[in-house]
Symmetry: C2
Subunit: 574 residues, 2 copies
C-alpha cells in the first residue's frame, strides 16, 4: 500500500500515514498542489515553519512506460509569493514510486542551528545531522552519496544557494549517471534550506516496486506510447540530436529570441550558440550529444557537454539557459555558457532566474553586456560565496531590479520570463501572464503550435483559448509524471491519447476517459492553484507583463504586447 | 490666482495650468492623492516614466496660523507598490503657497543620462542641468543653495540614496535654519531620482502671498487655535522640552518598545536614550533643546543636537529613530544614534526604514545587535557609496529580509513598522495593517488615546473604530497642512475644532462644517487611496501584520497579535 511520508523538522520526527481517499488517484503536480492547498496557510511566510515542501512522483512513475519518471516539488514560493510546482527528471521519482511513497511532506523547521540529511530506504526514513557536506555544492553532495550509498543512490539536494535561502535557489536531483537535474523554478531550494535539510538520499534496494491493476493492458498501451514518442519527427530529428537548443535557430527565425535583455528578437551570432553548433562541438570532442535525464527516457534531449580536454562540463544544457545567457546577455561562446551552466548546477540556482538576473545586472552596469568572464566570476566569487552582490543576484531578476533601481526587468509574479519574447508569439505571453506559477514556458507551451503554423503568433486571435488548452494539458502531464516533450507525441499522434488513457487506467484500476484525465484534471489543478494565489494576495494585476513589452516594439517584426487586462483576465473564464 | 505647475522631464518643459474646479478646495494629502489617483496608472512601474511626483502645500499653508506649513509629497511608492503621501516641515510649503503654486507635478523621465535642478521663483520654473551637486549629500546641497540663492532659499533635494533609486530614499526639505527635514517614507526620493531631479530650489522673493476670503475672521480663529496649542499640557511640558523622545520612557512603561527587533516591549537601558537624557545632554553642551521645523511652529518639538565640542550634529532627532535604532538594535548611546541620524539625513534615507533594515541585518548576522560603530560604518561606507550591501540596506527592511532569507521582518506592505509594538497597543496595529500607506504610525496615531487611558490597548474592543476615526482625522490634518502634534490640541480642546473650521472657511470663502472638513474629507482621502491600491494589485492579504506578531507573545505583558483577518477587514466598512 502506498503511503504518505511526513517529516516534521520542528521535532525531527518521521511518520507514515495512509493515503487519504481524495489523494489516492492523484500524482505529481495535482498531488503537490492539492497538499499545499490543503495544508499551507496561503498568508504564511514562505521561509517560515508553516510552509511545507512536498515531493510527489507522477501517476505513471515507476512503471515501465517511457518518459514517466518526473518528480514534482511543491510549496508556497518565496520567489512569487504564490503556489509553486516545479518538476525534474533524475531517478528520484521512480525510486519513491517503487518504495510506495506517494508523497513526501517536509514541514516545520528546527529551532537549533544545525543542518540535516534525510535518508529514505525500504525501512522508512531517518533524519541525521549533516556536517560534512554543509557549504558544499551539488556535485560534491552527489559524489559523496554515490560513494556512501552506492552508484544508483537517488538524491535531492541544495547547493550554496539553498543554504543561503536565495529565492533563486533550486533543488537538484541526481540522475542515473550521477549528474545534476533540477527542480529549477520558484526558489524551492530556499524552502528546503529554511527547513535545514541539506539533502535527501534515497536507496530503493529491495523494495517491492509498484503494482499494476492490469499489467497486460498496460504493456500494450505502453508500447504504443513509446513507439509514438520515438517516431515523432520533432523528437527523432530535432530533440534527440540537438537537444532543446535546436530552438535557437528556430526562435531566431521567428524573431522571438530575448536578445540584449528582450530588445531584439534576433541575434546576429545565433549560429555560434545553436543546437547544431553544440552537437558538432560535442561530437568533435567525444562527448555525448544525446543523453536521457531519467530512467526510461525515449527522447534523449539531454547531452554530455565536454570541454576541449574531453572533461565533463555539464549535462542538460538547455535552450533556455543558452538563449537567455547567450543572446539575452550578448554572450556568443558556448563553452562559456556551458561553464556558467555547470556553476549554476553546482551552486544550485535556477539558470533561467540567474540569466534574467544577470541581464538586469548588466542593465545596472554591474557587468557589461557580453562580459562572459564577468558572469563566471559573478557566479563563482559572488553567488557561490553569498557576498552581498551574490545574494542579490541569487534572489533573481526582480530583486536585482529592486536593489539597483532597474525598470527593465522581465518578470511576471517576480519570476524571470523564459527565453521567448511574448510579442511575436503572443500565446506564450498569455501563459506567462496567467500561469499560477509566474512566468513559466512549460506551463502552457504555446511555442510549439506557433512554430508549427497552427496559430499566427503575431495576432491576438485565439491565443487565450490556446494557452488555456495548453495549460490544462501541461497541468495533466505534470501530474502523470510525463515529460513535457512527450506531450509533443500526445498532441501529434491520434493513437497516443488512447494509449495514455489505457496506461493510466491500467495502473490505477479506474475506468476514466481522456476528458477526465486531461482537461478535467488540468482545470482542477489550475483552479486550486489560482485559489491559493488569490488567498495569498495575488490579483489579476499580477497577471500582467512588465510595462516595457507594451511600450516598445520588438524588432524585426516591430510588434508590441497589446493585450488588455480584460482580455487576459478572460483566461479564467472556465 | 493659484495654478498647477507641471514639469515634464521627458521633454524638459514647464507648463502652468489653471486649477481644476474639483481640486480648488483641496490641499496637502487630499490634493496629492487626488492627482496621483487621477493621473498615475496604478499598474505602472513606480520608477518608470508613467509615475508622477506631486507636491502640494496644505489648505492653510502660507497663512499666519501656527503649525500649518506642512508640505505633502505623493506618488506611487516604489517601496509599497501602492499610493504614497509623505509630509514634511521646512519652509517649502509656505513658499509654494505664497507663490500661488497649488501643486507641483513632476512627470516623465529624461532619455539622456543627465541630472537636473528645477528652480522656482515668482517668474515661474526653469529646468537646468546640474553637475556640481550630483553625488553630494543633502547638507552640501542645502549649503550650496543657501549661498547661491540666499539664506532663506527653499529647497527639496535627494541625497545619494535617491540618486541610487533606493526604495528607502527620502526627499529632504530645507528648514528655516538651513537644516534638514524629510518626506521620509515610501521611497519618494527614488521617484525623484528616477526623474533625474537632484534638487528643486525655491525663492519666494517678491511674491504676492496668499489671499484670505475673510481676514478678520481668520485672525480671530487663528489666535484661538494658537493659544490652544501653546496651552496643551502635553505640548508645553512634554513635546517642547523633550521632543518626541519624551515617548521613550512612556512607551517603555507601556511595554511597547520595539526592543531587540520587537522581541521585548521594554529595554533595560531606556533611560540612557530618553527625551529627558537628550535634553540634559543638549543643555549641558549648549545646544537647543527646543526648535521649530517650520515657520510659525508653536510646538518646537525639534531640537539642535550638538556634540561634546558643541558642534552641530542633527536636528529633529525623533522618537522613532531613537527607539528603533536604540532599543530596537540594542544601542544605548545617544551620541551614536544622533551621528547615525545625521548620516541618514545627509544620505537621504528614511530613518524608520533604515533602522528596520539594520535590525534585519543584525538578524542576518551582518552586524551584531548593539554594534553602533558597525551601524555608522554601514551607513557611511556602504549605503552612502551604493555598494551592493549598501543598496540592499537602502532598499529597506523588506528587501534586506528577502536578500538574506530573514523571516523576522517587521513590515506591512513592505514598509518598516514604526517604533510601537502593536501587541500591547492594538489600535496602532490596526493602523499599520490598514493604512493605504503601509505601516505608518502617523496615519492613525492610536498611541495618544491609549497612553491617555481612553482605551485599553491590550484589548481588541473598539480598536478598529478608533483607528478609523484617527485615520480620517490624520488624512484631514495632512490635507490642512497642520502638523500631527497640533492634532493633540484639536482633539483635546473643545474650542479648537470650531476655530479650525473658521480658519478653513475664512481662507477659502466657503461655509463648511466640522463634519465636512474632518470625517468627510478624511474618508474621501482614504477611499481614493484604497481604490488606487486595489487597482495596483494590493488586497486585504496585504492588510496584515507579519506572522511573528501572532506567533510570539511580547514581554512584559505577554500579549500576541490576535485580530483575525475578518476583524481587520471591517475597517473598510464605511
Amino acid at each position: 500500500m502506498d503511503k504518505i511520508l511526513r517529516i516534521n523538522m520542528s521535532n525531527l520526527s518521521v511518520s507514515s500515514e495512509e493515503v487519504p481517499a481524495s489523494w489516492a488517484q492523484l500524482g505529481g503536480r495535482a498531488l503537490t498542489s492539492t497538499i499545499v492547498s490543503a495544508e499551507v496557510p496561503p498568508s504564511c511566510h514562505p521561509l517560515g515553519p508553516n510552509n511545507k515542501l512536498v515531493f510527489a512522483h507522477g501517476m505513471l512513475s515507476g512503471t515501465t512506460a517511457v518518459n514517466t519518471n518526473r518528480l514534482s516539488a511543491g510549496a508556497k514560493s518565496p520567489l512569487t509569493g504564490g503556489i509553486k510546482e516545479s518538476s525534474a527528471g533524475g531517478t528520484t521519482a521512480q525510486m519513491l514510486a517503487k518504495l510506495g511513497i506517494k508523497a513526501l511532506i517536509i514541514e516545520g523547521a528546527p529551532a537549533q542551528d544545525a543542518w540535516y540529511r534525510i535518508h529514505i530506504d525500504k525501512s522508512g526514513a531517518r533524519i541525521q545531522e549533516e556536517k560534512e557536506l554543509v557549504g558544499k555544492g551539488n556535485f560534491a553532495v552527489f559524489d559523496a552519496m554515490g560513494e556512501q550509498v552506492g552508484k544508483k543512490c537517488g538524491c535531492l539536494s541544495i547547493g550554496h544557494a539553498g543554504e543561503f535561502k536565495m529565492t533563486g535557489a533550486n533543488i537538484s536531483v541526481r540522475d542515473k549517471d550521477g549528474k545534476i537535474r533540477s527542480h529549477g523554478r520558484g526558489g524551492l531550494g530556499a524552502v528546503m534550506g529554511s527547513k535545514k535539510v541539506k539533502l535527501i538520499s534515497i536507496d530503493d534496494t529491495g523494495c517491492k516496486g509498484i503494482t499494476l491493476a492490469d499489467p497486460e493492458k498496460f504493456r500494450t498501451a505502453a508500447k504504443i506510447f513509446s513507439t509514438s514518442i520515438v517516431n515523432q519527427p520533432g523528437i527523432a530529428h530535432g530533440m534527440k540530436p540537438f537537444g532543446t537548443a535546436m530552438l535557437i535557430n528556430a526562435i531566431n527565425e521567428a524573431g522571438a529570441l530575448p536578445a540584449y535583455n528582450f530588445r531584439n528578437g534576433q541575434y546576429p551570432n545565433h549560429e555560434k550558440v545553436s543546437g547544431e553548433t553544440m552537437r558538432e562541438t560535442i561530437l568533435a570532442r567525444g562527448g555525448e550529444p544525446s543523453h536521457g535525464c531519467a530512467p526510461g527516457c525515449a527522447i534523449q534531449c539531454s547531452q554530455v557537454y565536454v570541454d576541449e580536454d574531453k572533461q565533463f562540463v555539464t549535462s542538460g544544457l538547455e535552450y533556455e539557459t543558452i538563449s537567455l545567457l547567450g543572446p539575452g546577455c550578448d554572450i556568443d561562446n558556448l563553452d562559456q555558457i556551458a561553464a556558467a551552466d555547470r556553476l549554476m548546477d553546482d551552486i544550485g540556482v535556477d539558470s533561467i532566474e540567474m540569466s534574467g538576473a544577470i541581464a538586469v545586472a548588466m542593465e545596472a552596469g554591474i557587468l557589461k553586456f557580453g562580459d562572459a568572464a564577468g558572469v563566471l566570476r559573478l557566479l563563482k566569487e559572488e553567488v557561490a560565496l553569498g557576498t552581498p552582490l551574490g545574494r542579490v543576484i541569487g534572489c533573481g531578476a526582480g530583486t536585482t531590479g529592486t536593489v539597483y533601481g532597474v525598470t527593465r526587468v522581465a518578470t511576471v509574479k517576480n519570476q524571470a520570463i523564459p527565453a521567448y519574447d511574448p510579442r511575436p508569439i503572443k500565446g506564450i505571453g498569455i501563459t506567462y501572464a496567467t500561469s499560477p506559477m509566474g512566468a513559466d514556458h512549460t506551463a502552457g507551451y504555446a511555442i510549439g503550435p506557433t512554430l508549427a503554423g497552427a496559430i499566427d503568433g503575431h495576432k491576438k486571435d485565439g491565443q487565450v483559448e490556446l494557452s488555456r488548452h495548453l495549460q490544462f494539458a501541461a497541468a495533466a502531464v505534470d501530474s502523470f509524471g510525463i515529460c513535457l516533450f512527450a506531450d509533443m507525441a500526445i498532441s501529434g499522434d491520434p493513437q497516443c491519447v488512447p494509449a495514455l488513457v489505457d496506461m493510466l487506467n491500467a495502473r490505477s484500476g479506474e475506468n476514466k476517459t481522456a476528458e477526465d484525465y486531461i482537461p478535467k484534471l488540468g482545470s482542477y489543478v489550475l483552479k486550486i492553484e489560482h485559489e491559493f494565489n488569490c488567498a495569498a494576495g495575488l490579483t489579476s494585476q499580477q497577471d500582467r507583463l512588465p510595462d516595457f513589452f507594451s511600450a516598445e516594439e520588438l524588432p524585426p517584426h516591430n510588434l508590441a504586447w497589446d493585450f488588455t487586462g480584460q482580455e487576459i483576465d478572460a483566461f479564467w473564464n472556465f
